[in-house]
């Protein structure tokens, strides 16, 4: 039974305003953690051309941040995670409208590119970068956590899903993930951040992979078995030689994050969602 006495009321205009601000920030300010990865890789990279690419990325992030312009022209399709506390109730416009209005205004005010077409086949631009892809989750508590991820498609296009057999085990996962990164090669703007979803159903695995991209660079999974696999994959991926911008080098991935979930006795779903070097997202708790 819901006890309306304890419900916290949130005006959805707050959500709209927060989304608007986060779109602009995520696209214009590459986060410090990510710039830290560029710096560390520059110290480590053995290919001179790879070093040059990393220097360009550092310089590019600086320019974008000081001039408040997008670091990349592909300001993505907006993926929004709305984690809503069960004790929250909303007033004002619907939350879906609030999110989409925030996207529309953020993309207009921030001079972000509008990259969404209305139908995959007729390909007419919606003109305002809406609609967003929104995932709602219910959590305990009286807060709302909103995460905005402007997802570029150079990297999204190189993502992949494989329904492995349980007997394929760890080796099957490693082979599939490394092959997917190898195929992405220079297309997905390496050095990459790679999100991996293990388990669940086909759709759940890909959602886990996308959520995995919200982790902080350098953070290993809290599950021992996943953390170990992350380390193996990071090493193997960096042996591929793809390097920054695919010109050859020893920095092919900055990080790989695994999120896992129980699955069926007959299945081993593995999803790989790829992010380029910019790893853009912002979050707020209201």
């Amino acid at each position: 039974m819901l006890n309306y006495e304890i419900m916290r009321l949130i005006d959805t205009i707050k959500i709209k305003n927060a989304v608007e601000k986060m779109c602009i920030e995520a696209c214009c300010k590459i986060s410090f953690d990510v710039i830290g990865c560029y710096d560390a890789a520059l110290a480590d990279e053995s290919s001179p051309m790879g070093e040059e690419v990393l220097r360009q990325l550092i310089e590019n992030a600086k320019i974008a941040s000081t001039e408040n312009i997008p670091a990349c022209q592909d300001t993505g399709m907006s993926v929004v995670f709305a984690d809503i506390g069960e004790e929250v109730s909303f007033t004002g416009m619907s939350i879906t409208k609030a999110i989409n209005d925030g996207i529309r205004d953020g993309y207009e005010k921030g001079f972000l590119r509008k990259s969404i077409v209305k139908h995959p086949l007729d390909r007419v631009n919606t003109g305002d970068n809406t609609p967003a892809v929104i995932y709602y989750d219910l959590l305990k508590g009286n807060k709302v956590k909103l995460t905005v991820m402007p997802k570029g498609f150079g990297s999204e296009n190189m993502s992949a899903l494989c329904m492995l057999k349980p007997s394929d085990g760890e080796k099957g996962i490693i082979d599939f993930v490394i092959d997917t990164i190898d195929k992405a090669g220079p297309n997905a703007c390496p050095p990459l951040f790679v999100g991996i979803g293990l388990g669940g159903t086909a759709d759940k695995a890909m959602l886990l992979a996308k959520r995995a991209l919200l982790r902080k660079p350098g953070d290993r999974s809290s599950k021992k078995i996943d953390a170990k696999l992350e380390r193996i994959l990071i090493n193997k991926a960096n042996e591929l030689g793809i390097g920054p911008a695919g010109l050859g080098g020893n920095t092919t991935v900055f990080d790989i994050f695994i999120e896992s979930y129980p699955t069926h006795i007959a299945g081993l779903p593995v999803a790989v969602n790829i992010s380029c070097h910019s790893l853009r997202h912002r979050e707020i708790i209201i």
Binding site: P70, A71, F111, G185, I242, A245, L247, G248
Partner: protein, 183 residues
């Protein structure tokens, strides 16, 4: 880093000197076109036998810029993934296109056409759009304005940084670079 300078449009004889792995700085005219503009250019050519601009010795930059903020010539404009243009590319190369700038792999057909026509494929750094747009000094939309970010633009660039990926002999830096650093 030493850079070779190229001016565009460029005579074939000069392009032949460019080798896979060379770093270049480009000054001159480029045409900016991505997916939708390529489709339109090709459809118009099939219909009328003409291209919206003379392709001879010219370069195309695969990019769809973000909107320009006040006081800027153009918004951030980095390269987009070239392989989506592969299906349209051989016809353009056969008709005079000499230089392409983008990022990522090309199809076998495109590589063959590059060799046959003595063209060259370059890459700019994907994601370095704010930095790259500083090299763009002028821009105008010359066709398909309704496509917005995907309209066909003529731009003038100065010292635009790029790397030769596939030279006119078909050598491919994406392959050789990877082999060199693969463990």
């Amino acid at each position: 880093m030493t850079y070779k300078k190229i001016n565009l449009p460029c005579k074939r004889e000069l392009l032949i000197d460019l080798k896979s792995g060379d770093q270049v700085k480009i000054t001159g005219v480029l045409y900016m076109a991505r997916d939708a503009a390529h489709k339109k250019i090709t459809e118009d050519f099939l219909l009328t036998g003409e291209f919206p601009f003379d392709l001879k010795e010219q370069g195309i930059y695969y990019s769809g810029p973000a909107p320009a903020a006040p006081g800027c010539v153009i918004g951030p404009a980095g390269p987009t993934t070239s392989m989506r243009m592969d299906i349209f590319t051989p016809v353009l190369l056969e008709n005079g296109l000499a230089v392409m700038i983008g990022k990522g792999d090309r199809s076998k057909e495109v590589v063959e056409s590059i060799k046959r026509n003595k063209a060259v494929y370059l890459a700019a750094t994907g994601g370095a759009a704010a930095l790259i747009s500083r090299c763009i000094k002028q821009q105008e939309i010359i066709a398909y304005e309704e496509l917005g970010a995907e309209a066909l633009r003529k731009i003038y660039v100065e010292d635009f940084p790029a790397i030769v990926i596939i030279d006119c002999d078909g050598n491919n830096l994406y392959k050789t670079g990877r082999e060199k650093y693969r463990l």
